[in-house]
Each structure stands twice: as C-alpha cells, then as structure tokens.
Amino acid sequence: MVNLVLETEKKKIGQIMKKLTIDSSTEIEEAVRYLCPDVMLLPPNDQPIKGIDAVKARMIEDSQARIHAIGGKQLNVEVSEKADLAWEYGSYYIQYSEGNEGVHGHYLSIFRKEKGEWKLQEHSWSETFS
C-alpha cells in the first residue's frame, strides 16, 4: 500500500531540488532558505565546502557561468518513516551553449527536516565532461 504521507514528502523533496538546482542560478537568496546551517557540499575532486556562507559563495560563483540549459532526472528518493531524514539521487546535465555537450553526471542529496521544512544537509556529485 502506498503511504500517501511519505509520497507527499517525496514530492516536496523533488520541488526543493528544483529550486536548488534550477532557481539557484538566478535566485540565490531563495535557494539559501533551503540549506541547513551546517550544509556541506562534496565536490568530485576537491575538499568539502562547509557551512551556509561558503556554500552561498560557491553558488554565487557558479551563477556567473553562462548556462544555456540545465536539467536532471530523479532516480530514487527515500524518506524515513517519521519524515525527518531523506535522500535523493539522480542524474543532471549542464549545457553552456547551444550544441555544446557540456557536463553531465550524478548527484546525491541528503535532506533533514528543520521546524517542519526540508533542508539540504549534504550534497555530493560526480562530473563527466563530454
């Protein structure tokens, strides 16, 4: 039997991921609302980026790139029974100009619920250049 509460929570996770990936390229202040204070990014070939200020700085840096198209596909979402911990993983692509194959890879995001709202706690990704 489908647990409707958990299915609703899974949809919320998907909506936040969209805000964090697509909207963050233009609306960083909005995206930052969905980060835990001790959020951590784990880039594929670099040291972890820890804390909301460092992550925001990285988002601003990334937003400087001229992006033609960005998107992704959710492969799996799991939400705990009490809906306090969740993860999502999937694939993504970033195209920098028309005809350019750009970058693609996979991501793993971990969310925790704080005061009734899902927030990003950890985010790790792989990167394959075409």
Binding site: P44, K82, S124
Partner: protein, 132 residues
Amino acid sequence: MKVDVEAEKRKIRELNIKLLVDHNRDVDDELSYFVDNAILMPPNAPPIVGVKAIRPVIEGMIKNKINLGTPKGPDWIVVSESGDLAYDFGKYSVKTQRPDGLVTEKGYYISLYKKIDGQWKFAGQSWSNLNL
C-alpha cells in the same frame, strides 16, 4: 517505540567497518549487506547500480589487492528518528599496487543505509577523489 539512536549508530559503524574489511575476503557475504538497488557513485565515472553490477567491482578490488588499511569508521553518522534510514560521512585512503608502483588515493565519502527486516543494509555511496 522509541529508537535508541546511539545504539543504531554503533551498528552502522560496525557495518561500515565490516564492509571495508570483508571485501578483502568474501564477496557473497559482503553483498548480503547490500540492498538490491544499491548505487555506487564514483567521482568521475557513471554510477554503478544494483548488486549484479557492483559484484565485479568488488571482485576487481580483491584481484587488484587494494589495501584499505585499518578502517576507522566514519567521522559521523546520522540516524533517522524512526531508525529506518541513516547515512555516514568519512575520509578514505586506499593503496593500489599498479605496474608503475604503489598509488595512494584519498578523498571523502557519504554512505547510505536502510533498515530492512530489522537489519541495516548498505544502500549506496558517493565519494570524491582528491588525487585528480
């Protein structure tokens, strides 16, 4: 029923260490602790999805005599209030003997765990590589 989160963390730590140690010994036993749709996400390659696809990866690690040293377990572990999902974060260092000498790779990892029928299972891992 209230979950003893600290006790669950200890179980996750034991599993994390067991998986690192046992993959030098018994592939079938190692894979018995994986969920069927477990995923491995290397930093610069496509993901490896499902136990069938992961098996040759572990066999390759044994064949190539990858040395993981003495596993210390993750730096931290988070367990859900309901004790059914968990993840950990840690550092790794592996040594591989290659034709051109001993290569050491270092990085960080995040592992996923899911409790199935009362037992914690490994659901996936994403890791970085600082050597590139």
